[in-house]
Amino acid sequence: MSQVITPSAAPAAALGRPRRDIGIKRRYAAERRFRAYGIAAILFGLVFLFILLWSVVSKGYTAFQQTMITVPIEFSEQLIDPKNERASNPQKLLTANYPVLARNAVAKVLGVAETDRTAMRDVGLMLSDSVRSQLRDLVVADPSIIGKTQPVRLLASGDLDSAFKGQINLSVSENNRKISDRQVGWMNQLSEKGVLAKHFNTGIFFNGASSRPEAAGVGVALIGSFYMMLIVLVLALPIGVAASIYLEEFAPKNRFTDLIEVNINNLAAVPSIVYGLLGLAVFINFMGLPRSASLIGGLVLTLMTLPTIIIATRAALKAVPPSIRAAALGLGASKMQTIFHHVLPLAMPGILTGTIIGLAHALGETAPLLLIGMVAFVANYPTTPLDPSTALPVQIYMWANEAERAFVERTSGAIIILLLFLIVMNVGAILLRRRFERRW
């Protein structure tokens, strides 16, 4: 055997024998190339993460400011209730022509003659339609205001808002944009006088749906999302924990539990839209629950989140060392007591982290909600989970489909709000994990 000695395997008997050429240079070039691919791939991902966030933030941060016009408004009795019949006919106050009040007030500041009809119309277009309800609410709340003059902060129209924020290209021919040169002139005039200015936009947080971008907000959607998250939390956490405890601690290892295992893993990867179809068929068509209700949204999202929570909980339970179970069982505790008194508290941080991450996913989920009719124009706050409502991501979807320029800003603003919620939740999950992380 040992006689078989090939030249290439010859003993290195002599010192300083010639170095073999093993292509070091070429191979190191390949090594560097390979590394560069890796770095390039990571950079690609990070750059697009940055572009994505930047594009949303740069488009959306302006949504948190709104152009407002503060003018003294004369609640002239002549215009609101010329025949003084408000005592007998309460409808009168509701149907009065309030926009004219606002228009006249602005025209007065600008020095536009009330007789110049086209100019007056243009002035009117600078104000949001929402001034009608704003002034109406003021008057209805306090009819004694009629006849007095009081400064009021009015919403500017969406187009004026865009122009004031510099989002409209003014070099384009006047006919091709929604705001005329004259209006721009007035805008600058008002701005110089301090009448027109940007203010923090509380409306975006509290208002309901509106076809006017300047008056639209995510208030209803926030409530809807809140209800849904509440339902998901209340249902998915206990059910998920109970299911995991059974599967991890009690279930015998047989074909049936194997099936459940595969099934749960599969459910975690089923397209979310399928859950929407399930909700539509079962909750709405079969059980007859009302469409667009956040209850159904919550139920659908619960089913969708459940596998995630179960997987996270099982991992957390598995991480609790068997020695703890053995110690408790050895003291005479029943299996149930062992699990509920010892194992579960130790696994709790992991379970909560998984739950928060599951909730965060559910919060951003859109597709299933579209199918169960949450694409609804809801202007009023829902009071119970059975009322029609919408959700934050669905609101984003609806606004994204709007054509108006100002809605792009709103959409980005809503996305920022959504992302902030998600960041808070995820940071919470990370902190929880850091705080309670245990090394066994």
Partner: protein, 271 residues
């Protein structure tokens, strides 16, 4: 293997030992894992065409030293090596020395057999292929055959070269790993407890193999078993708590060691 040739080899080696030539020289080698120091100024020379055994209790630094010899410690993030180790005349930690080239010259066999999940043939061909040692298929076939021959695995494996290397028995896998190391024709082969995962029969085969390889390669072997060290090595180095206690001829080491600690260890008082 016949007695004559073995005797001849012994003789040649004995002659060589008189004018000792060192293949690798370690001077003041210290190793740190992060803040923890694992080796303390070890000075150990490895003689050419000799089997050097490194023995000592667990955690004494023998494996750490072994891994310094082909810079496998580089793969551990927090590890830092100081001192000087030369291969022939080259300082292996010198920036001009390439670690790839070094490892092609100083091969390594690990504690647990770790064949790649490839065919037996591909396992052997892996090293020559990455280093470009074979010009063509026939060349490669020859290298594979020669390596398996030297590792004493040819007869068992020649009919199943295309089968997966992971399908072999533990002892065969370890010999495959040795064959894989030989295929690159290194000058030094490092073995890190190569038999610890094997049964006695497989161990005997590997020991026999080490014995044969000695004529062509410089071998450094870490072992837990003093009997093994006595059987396969000519020189033995004893480590304790990160320090080199004693380095001597194996015969002397096991009969009349210079250091009391070696004596104690060999007598089984600790370790």
């Amino acid at each position: 293997m016949n007695m004559m040739s073995e005797a001849a080899v012994e003789k040649a080696l004995d002659q060589k030992m008189n004018d000792v030539s060192y293949k690798m020289v370690g001077k003041d080698v210290s190793v740190y894992y992060g803040e923890k120091r694992a080796l303390f100024d070890v000075n150990l020379n490895v003689r050419e065409n000799t089997v050097t055994a490194l023995i000592g209790p667990s955690g004494c630094g023998k494996s750490t030293f072994l891994r310094c010899l082909n810079r496998m410690n580089d793969t551990i993030e927090s590890c830092r090596v100081t001192g000087r180790i030369t291969l022939d005349t080259d300082d292996i930690y010198d920036p001009s020395i390439d670690v790839v080239e070094l490892r092609a010259r100083v091969g390594m066999v690990f504690q647990k057999p770790n064949p790649f999940p490839k065919s037996i043939y591909e396992n052997i061909a892996y090293g020559p292929r990455i280093h470009g040692l074979a010009r063509n298929k026939a060349d490669m076939d020859q290298i594979v055959e020669a390596s398996l021959q030297r590792a004493g695995l040819w007869n068992e494996a020649k009919d199943r070269l295309q089968e997966s290397g992971t399908g072999l028995s533990g002892g065969q896998q370890q010999r495959l790993c040795i064959a894989r190391a030989i295929a690159v024709s290194p000058e030094v082969i490092l073995m890190d407890e190569p038999c610890s995962a094997l049964d006695p029969i497989a161990t005997a085969k590997v020991e026999e193999l080490i014995h044969e390889l000695r004529s062509n390669y410089t071998i450094v072997i870490v072992t837990h078993s003093m009997q093994q060290a006595a059987r396969v090595s000519q020189r033995t180095a004893m480590f304790h708590l990160g320090q080199l206690v004693e380095e001597n001829d194996t015969d002397k080491m096991f009969t009349n060691p210079d250091d009391q600690r070696t004596q104690d260890y060999i007598m089984g008082r600790f370790g």
